[in-house]
Symmetry: C2
Subunit: 208 residues, 2 copies
């Protein structure tokens, strides 16, 4: 049986029901811990699922920040120090990753609160997450404010990338499953994956 | 063994290797077929993995369009008719979905080319994909041009939502796994999922 929600139906839902429903329908999402640091060296870690690939050349990624949901420390730190990291979440520490979404005061680092460990590269100012497999260092490039709901899209350029050699295939594809990267649906549902297939480049005339 | 790519290393990669690498590191991604129609009634279907949740109230979703990768017919149709649909991809038709990314001329609908079927609701102008489970009807709200690489973020409001009743939990959460929604990594790697757990709302002090 199929259920249809009209615009009026969606508006009439309770706040919590609507939040769960609408957060679910965007599908399985990228899941990263975002590492930042302020000018005094205080680190911050927050869990984000609104990450998109923006382009490969130059290498750009974006994240949408919802000021009322995500602790604003992440945005403040990016404004202050212009660098941030994306760190893939693995099954081994997804509960600690989830716990970073609690509202800690600024003087408590989520690293300290959850036991996840900071990792630094010589050439990059913001903290990586040691336990993560794929670690991405980004420099702030631009941002766009979404008029409709006062969120903002932050775009960064990938200026450093650290990952296990074993996960990189000969054509540059990264086998995220082998590296243990997990995914999320809705606000709080975590999932591992099972590969179906890589498909060849699609051409008109070649029916799959 | 860990491999580190600096900005210079990434710039020095071959175009194909860099495209695969950078497209992979954004993690597992939402995967939807985007349905549109032009003023003459010619339909179009394209596969998109750059979809983000923008907000729940009002219900907003976004997609990043790369003009040189995605067939431009989708953008042209949205400019002309202001409506589009997101349709989750299931294991049963992921090869047909992939095939829509081939460059068909405008007079050939990807529905016709791949055998996927159009579905219409009485109140919504753009075509849904019959075979899909979660079907989302959106009205164009705003767009933002990313200066760094001439891509654009299209934001739409969810004004209709159709999905099987069996997938909707009592709190509004949608069990996408039960509905067969799949995910993608990189440009061409498709995956099903296996649920780990839903976690309760995180609070400071409650160590997970």
């Amino acid at each position: 049986m199929q259920q249809t929600f009209s615009k009026a139906d969606i508006q009439a839902l309770s706040k919590e029901y609507r939040r769960n429903l609408i957060n679910s329908i965007s599908g399985f999402k990228s899941l990263c811990l975002v590492g930042t640091v302020d000018r005094e060296g205080q680190t911050n870690l927050s869990l984000i699922s609104s990450i998109i690939h923006v382009g490969a050349n130059p290498p750009l990624m974006g994240m949408l920040m919802r000021p009322h949901v995500v602790p604003r420390h992440t945005i403040e730190n990016i404004e202050a120090t212009h660098h941030f990291t994306f760190n893939h979440v693995r099954e081994e520490f997804f509960e600690e990753a989830h716990q970073t979404s609690a509202r800690y005061p600024k003087e408590i680092s989520e690293f300290e609160a959850t036991g996840l460990k900071e990792e630094y590269s010589e050439s990059f100012p913001a903290p990586y997450v040691l336990e993560s497999s794929v670690k991405i260092g980004l420099r702030f490039v631009e941002r766009h404010f979404i008029t409709a709901n006062a969120t903002q899209l932050i775009v960064g350029e990938v200026i450093e990338l650290r990952l296990p050699t074993i996960g990189i295939m000969s054509d540059g594809f990264v086998d995220l499953e082998k590296l243990g990267t997990i995914t999320v649906s809705g606000l709080d549902s975590y999932h591992t994956t099972r590969s179906l297939k890589r498909l060849p480049y699609a051409k008109a005339g070649n029916q799959s």
